[in-house]
């Protein structure tokens, strides 16, 4: 019976013990105050029960010290929790520098993961143990949310932009993956499994049955869509040179500067005029509606590989 009644989830990521420690501290705190209040209520209710029908309570006065105490003490406690919680949150929000990036497109009602090596999988995600993994996510329709309870992480997957989620799995095994943001009829079917594997097993898995890497698919698209007629490997093209673009700082026509991250590349493909590079004419057509989110991810991955 007890095996059918789990009370605490398995933890399988570097962040999980941090979340659990904070959670258990909070459970202790909540228990302390709940028992304190409930205990006082029961004690007072019995100790000061009405003994005669016309009995009157004794009015209490001069509670300023008490009032100050029970305002300031909770304030100090909650500020302490805030700082602790924010520290854990920062660790969740900031992926380490060298991560394995995996792409996901959420759509009603499935998860489509794409690995840089070219492996694609639906509602399943294979990752190596002991290596930070960053998931770059977007949605093709409504808002979804990628949630892996064993890793204690989740993040909304939004249409029209990229969001990220990172984790480092610490235990091999099979863990549930959910969509946590209500997304319509088969929301509860938008679930799957994360398989955490030993690195060599992961490499073997990556190599199996793949036609071409994500970047090579992107390269083919780059030619099919005739991107290469304007974006030349030198500075002579009508569009900006894309070599060494990823991660660099781009000067815009407005004088602003942006870092060319995945979101910027995506926006520049779909709505090129939104943030035009300085020195270039707004000649590029929009690709909104012409390419799917998966195509965009392939193009982005290809552009990321362009280095001199």
């Amino acid at each position: 019976m007890l095996s059918e009644l789990p009370l605490f989830p398995v933890g399988a990521s570097t962040i999980a013990p941090q979340v659990d420690a904070l959670y258990l501290f909070m459970v202790g705190l909540a228990l302390f105050f709940s028992v304190l209040i409930a205990g006082l209520i029961v004690y007072f209710a019995i100790r000061y029960r009405r003994r005669a029908p016309d009995e009157i309570g004794v009015a209490a006065t001069g509670g300023l010290i008490l009032e100050t105490a029970w305002s300031v003490i909770p304030l100090v406690i909650v500020l302490f929790i805030f700082v602790w919680g924010a520290a854990v949150f920062f660790a969740m929000a900031r992926p380490p520098a060298d991560t394995l990036t995996i792409y996901v497109v959420g759509k009603q009602w499935m998860w489509k993961f794409q690995h840089a090596a070219g492996q694609q999988e639906i509602n399943e995600l294979h990752v190596p143990v002991g290596r930070p993994v960053k998931i770059l996510m977007t949605s093709q329709d409504v808002i979804h949310d990628l949630f892996v309870p064993a890793f204690r992480v989740k993040a909304d997957v939004l249409p029209g932009r990229y969001t990220t989620l990172w984790f480092e799995a610490t235990r091999t095994g099979q863990y549930r993956l959910f969509c946590a943001e209500y997304c319509g009829t088969k929301h509860s079917g938008m679930t799957g499994w994360v398989y955490v594997m030993e690195p060599h097993e992961y490499q073997a898995w990556l190599a199996g049955g793949v036609t071409g890497s994500l970047a090579s698919s992107g390269e083919k698209l780059f030619q099919d869509l005739a991107c290469n007629t304007c974006h030349l490997p030198d500075t002579q093209g009508r569009g900006p040179m894309l070599h060494n673009l990823f991660g660099s700082t781009v000067l815009l026509a407005t004088g602003e500067k942006v870092v060319a991250d995945e979101s910027y590349l995506r926006e520049s493909i779909l709505t090129p005029r939104a943030r035009l590079t300085a020195g270039f004419e707004p000649l590029m057509p929009t690709f909104q509606g012409l390419v799917s989110e998966e195509d965009v991810l392939q193009l982005v991955e290809y552009i990321k590989t362009l280095k001199k």
Binding site: I41, R51, A59, F82, A86, F89, D141, P159, F178
Partner: protein, 528 residues
């Protein structure tokens, strides 16, 4: 003697009444209807969740069930229940006035509320709506093919009833107080309704505009929230929660007001730290407007915005804690009786404490990421809205029922009902905290098998809870005819409402009372 119930007869005398007490009873009938509508949907939800697969109903049906449960309960029960029923009935009586400042506007509010309710009921009976009560875009505005616009228009219309009620209360409390009824002699029930009214007047227009924007995108294809049309889906969440988080305080502040009255009356002593409790209401109302972003910690907002919203959410917890400590301290050296309203007050304090403390988990950034959108959230807000608002509402209804109707309800049955509801509630919702941390997402028609035992516990609790509700429903109706005559002051309580006959005359008082004492002046009774 003529009282407000038998002063005039006939349906017309009720449907065209300007008496705040009769309008309150019209609201009582309406919100009770919506409560049972919302409750019926909850029964369907819990029945489906008794087994892991979506076997009782199709997922699309299940999605409509939890949506309509939320819409009916939040917009047509929890928000109006205490203000429009108890507040409407009591505020003029408590401050020694003959009516609210704008009696016709008060009646108009009820008609507007009913019109909104009919729109939403119409949406429900013609096929329902499946967006969740939160109407997140772009699902609601561009993808759902259910009756979103009709249901949302009902909420839009009902919002005006809320605004007008808030306006009426604010003007009444400012302008209609009896001679000697200074601000710091007001019962805390009135203070909490004043704070609630501020939120109603300032917050409700925002949800009204937001609903219109969703309708505009859905009906006319304007690109507001759907990125495919150039909109921003997260903008909706900001607008929605700018109202809907303060709306939580619309639901719970009046219940806090009720509990202050109950604790004082059944301890027979003034509420400890009166001024602190009064100002805590205002602090909650003001800070409550600045915390909406805590619903969006995982929705891609910047980490710095998340930190600001987190710290502000912790700050709003402090005045709530202050209230709990003050109520508890009020019991100290009181003359405590265990009448049914006091049992509900005890229940409120205990359950609201759990609801508030679990709210701290959600304000904590590092924990919220894991538990948001899971059953932990569902458990937390039911502890606040049910453990808080509904316990307060039922406590208040029992406390003032003799005043409203002139009849006492059967005490033994009432205690049984209170106990059943308390046990059923905890069995229903406590397992959901565990489910949430285990990672069960909310709004799932089907769920993994390892979550079944806890879900069965929850569904079993809901059965007890459902039965618990029928008990007061039956004996309240029974008492209208067969209950013992209550007399003006069955509890030996102080407060202007207990100085007038039960039920009171249409004008509330024979002559305008003159107030010479602070609220809850039990300690002055003996000397007099």
């Amino acid at each position: 003697m003529k009282d407000y119930l038998n002063a005039t007869y006939g349906l017309k005398s009720w449907l065209l009444t300007r008496d705040h007490k009769r309008i309150a009873l019209l609201y009582l009938a309406s919100v009770t209807l919506f409560f049972f509508v919302g409750g019926a949907f909850a029964v369907m939800v819990r029945l489906e969740l008794a087994t892991p697969p979506a076997d009782l109903m199709q997922p699309e049906t299940y999605n409509k069930m939890f949506t309509m449960h939320g819409v009916a309960m939040v917009f047509f029960f929890l928000i109006p229940a205490i203000p429009a029923v108890l507040g409407n009935w009591l505020i003029p009586v408590m401050i020694g006035a003959r009516d609210l400042a704008f009696p016709k506007l008060n009646l108009a509010s009820w008609y507007i509320f009913m019109l909104g309710g009919l729109f939403t009921l119409w949406a429900m009976v013609t096929g329902g709506v499946d967006t969740g009560w939160t109407f997140y875009t772009p699902y609601s505005s561009a993808f759902s093919n259910t009756h979103v616009v009709t249901a949302a228009l009902g909420i839009f219309i009902a919002g005006f009833a809320s605004i007008l009620t808030g306006l009426n209360f604010i003007v009444t409390i400012h302008r209609m107080r009896a001679p000697g009824m200074t601000w710091f002699r007001l019962p805390l029930f009135v203070w909490s309704h004043y704070a609630t009214s501020l939120i109603m007047v300032l917050g409700t227009p925002v949800i009204a505009i937001t609903i219109l924007l969703v309708a505009a995108e859905r009906a006319f294809g304007l690109g507001l929230f759907d990125p495919a049309r150039g909109g921003d889906p997260v903008l909706f969440q900001h607008l929605f929660w700018f109202y809907s988080h303060p709306a939580v305080y619309i639901m719970v502040l009046p219940a806090m007001g009720v509990v202050s009255e109950l604790v004082a009356a059944f301890s027979r002593k003034p509420v400890f730290g009166y001024a602190f409790v009064a100002f805590a209401s205002l602090a909650i109302a003001v800070i409550g407007f600045l915390v909406w972003g805590h619903h969006m910690f995982v929705s891609s907002q910047s980490v710095y915005a998340a930190m600001i919203f987190s710290v502000l959410s912790f700050l709003v917890a402090v005045p709530s804690a202050v209230k709990v400590f003050n109520w508890t301290a009020t019991l100290y050296r009181g003359s405590i009786s265990y009448d049914t309203p006091m049992l509900y007050a005890f229940g409120f304090i205990g359950l609201f404490t759990i609801g508030g403390l679990t709210g701290l988990f959600l304000a904590t950034l590092g924990i919220d990421v894991h538990v948001t959108d899971t059953y932990f959230i569902v458990a937390h807000f039911h502890y606040i809205m049910f453990g808080g608002t509904i316990m307060g509402y039922l406590g208040g209804l029992h406390y003032w029922w003799p005043k409203m109707t002139g009849r006492l309800y059967p005490e033994g049955w009432a205690k049984l009902g209170a106990l059943t509801i308390f046990l059923g509630f905890n069995l229903t919702f406590f397992p959901q905290f565990v489910l949430g941390y285990l990672g069960m997402p909310r709004r799932y028609a089907a769920y993994p098998e390892e979550f079944q035992v806890l879900n069965v516990m929850s569904s079993a609790g809901a059965t007890i809870l459902g039965a618990g509700y029928l008990i007061p429903m039956i004996y309240f109706i029974w008492s209208l005819r067969y209950g013992r005559i209550a007399g003006p002051n069955p509890w030996g309580a102080v407060g202007l409402e207990w100085t007038t006959p039960s039920p009171p005359p249409t004008d509330n008082f024979e002559k305008t009372p003159i107030v010479t004492q602070p609220a809850y002046a039990y300690h002055l009774l003996e000397r007099a």
